[in-house]
């Protein structure tokens, strides 16, 4: 019993710390977490809607719902590379479940995403969408499934980066690459049939499609859901195996 209470306290306090620390010394606080995706949305809107005049319905809402999720993914994955190294003094001295550092990182970034959802709702209202109960009820499920994927990938990257520090650079490069291979700034319908397979080998594509369909069509994309669950299980197992095998060495190497 004590253990469950303890782990609950540990994860809550670590996450609270991450959230508090992020904007402790800035005046605009929460607004900064909106600034980045909104700014990107503006750029892509300008390029695709105004310059190249791509025909897409409700492109603004489409962009925003994708970019906010992407921010959760990319912030977590990028920060996870260094998470064990930057907590070296702690890892060297105290025995505690180190994967909780990654978990709290993903949760605090997830919290960021959660508090940006009202902004998406505002855009929905502006474009005369109704926010159905179904959308709100599906939120927890999608948050959970997206969170598992981000946590698993972050744990893999954080763990391997202790041993192979070049990974951090590789990850930041790859992320840029994957961003454009994920239907975030274009919808999957634009992808030529020949390249459709990318949608299935890229786990983030399922994430993007799920969230787009939720906000723009108020439906649960069942195919994407199945793919995401598959990738969740796959990466969760890989992450657990790698972490279990290598964590004993952390204190020596960070």
């Amino acid at each position: 019993m004590r253990n469950i209470e303890y782990y609950k306290d540990l994860i809550i306090e670590l996450t609270k710390k991450d959230i508090k620390v992020r904007y402790k010394n800035s005046y605009l606080g929460y607004l900064w977490s909106l600034a980045n995706p909104l700014c990107l949305a503006l750029i892509f809107y300008f390029i695709f809607k105004i310059i190249t005049k791509v025909q897409m319905e409700n492109y603004t809402l489409f962009l925003i719902s994708g970019l906010f999720v992407w921010q959760w993914i990319s912030n977590s994955v990028l920060a996870s590379a260094n998470i064990f190294l930057s907590n070296a003094s702690l890892i060297k001295k105290v025995k505690f479940p180190r994967n909780f550092l990654v978990l709290s990182l993903v949760l605090s970034e997830g919290f960021n995403f959660l508090v940006s959802i009202p902004v998406i709702f505002l855009f929905m209202l502006y474009y005369k969408y109704s926010i159905s109960l179904k959308v709100i009820l599906l939120l927890p499920l999608l948050l959970f499934l997206t969170g598992i994927l981000i946590y698993s990938l972050s744990l893999i990257i954080g763990t391997l980066n202790v041993f192979f520090r070049d990974l951090e650079r590789i990850v930041s490069l790859l992320l840029t690459f994957i961003f454009y291979l994920t239907p975030i700034i274009y919808s999957e319908g634009y992808i030529p049939e020949k390249y459709k397979f990318i949608l299935y080998i890229n786990p983030f594509a399922s994430v993007a499609m799920l969230w787009h369909d939720l906000f723009l069509k108020a439906i649960l994309n069942f195919k994407a859901l199945c793919f995401l669950i598959f990738y969740d299980i796959l990466f969760y197992i890989i992450a657990t195996v790698i972490y279990k095998k290598l964590q004993d060495k952390f204190a020596e190497l960070v």
Partner: protein, 241 residues
């Protein structure tokens, strides 16, 4: 009652010094072999037992393996061979500010650090007034700790660690910070711990404090345990190394 038991414990550290990714990929097999073989001995076949009421000083020259021994007790690293058994709750006394976040207040750091040291939130809230009082930080407790002096940080760290109510307290060279008065208070606290039967493992170069606190010393020399026993004898051996 046995608190800590080491049986033929040997510890090697792996040296992870790759010659860069290019070198690594071009000579994959020889590189993997090299990494596997490049290790150095930190502790060689160490056995001892520490019991309730023991206040054990670990002394030895720099690089002898004292801190490795402490990390093994804390369970943050694993031995390469041999067995380690630890019974009871451990509280390591952290280096200056380890696990603290500079932008959080002293108060917030007490909660965070207390949890990392194994307390639940409920336990911490019960003890927080007493932690603050012991640290003598007064109103500074509501300031971010980046403005604290090193003495204030170590006072806060020490206060938290002793309030974890550990069965085993691990101290690594940290008592030397803080002013005379606070050092004395720490030593009194440790003596109080000793009186109620707690186990304390204490790594230090400060022979004076070791003599004052400990009832037993382990002398580590060249990664081996060369003496385990009375304080006077151990100190004599250490001074003649």
């Amino acid at each position: 009652m046995v608190r800590i038991e080491f049986k033929n414990v040997t510890k090697y550290y792996t040296l992870l010094n790759t010659g860069g990714i290019k070198n690594f990929l071009f000579n994959l097999f020889s590189e993997i072999k090299r990494i596997k073989n490049s290790r150095f001995l930190a502790l060689d076949n160490i056995s001892f037992s520490i019991f309730d009421k023991d206040v054990v000083g670990i002394i030895g020259k720099n690089g002898a393996g004292k801190s490795t021994l402490l990390s093994l007790i804390a369970g943050v690293i694993k031995p390469s061979s041999g067995k380690i058994k630890v019974y009871g709750r451990i509280a390591p006394l952290l280096e200056l500010g380890a696990g603290f976040h500079p932008d959080l207040t002293g108060y917030e750091n007490i909660i965070l650090n207390g949890i990392l040291l194994g307390m639940t939130k409920k336990e911490i809230m019960k003890k927080i007034d007493s932690i603050i009082e012991f640290s003598e930080l007064g109103d500074f407790i509501f300031q971010p700790i980046r403005i604290y002096s090193s003495g204030m940080l170590s006072r806060l760290g020490f206060s938290i660690a002793v309030h974890v109510n550990p069965d085993i307290l691990l101290i690594d060279e940290v008592l030397s910070v803080g002013d005379m008065k606070f050092q004395e208070k720490c030593i009194n606290k440790i003596l109080e711990f000793k009186k109620i039967g707690k186990t304390i493992v204490f790594v230090s170069h400060d022979i004076g404090t070791v003599k004052k606190l400990c009832n037993r010393v382990l002398v580590i020399h060249n990664h081996k345990l060369i003496y385990d026993g009375k304080v006077e004898k151990g100190v004599e051996i250490y001074e003649n190394l």
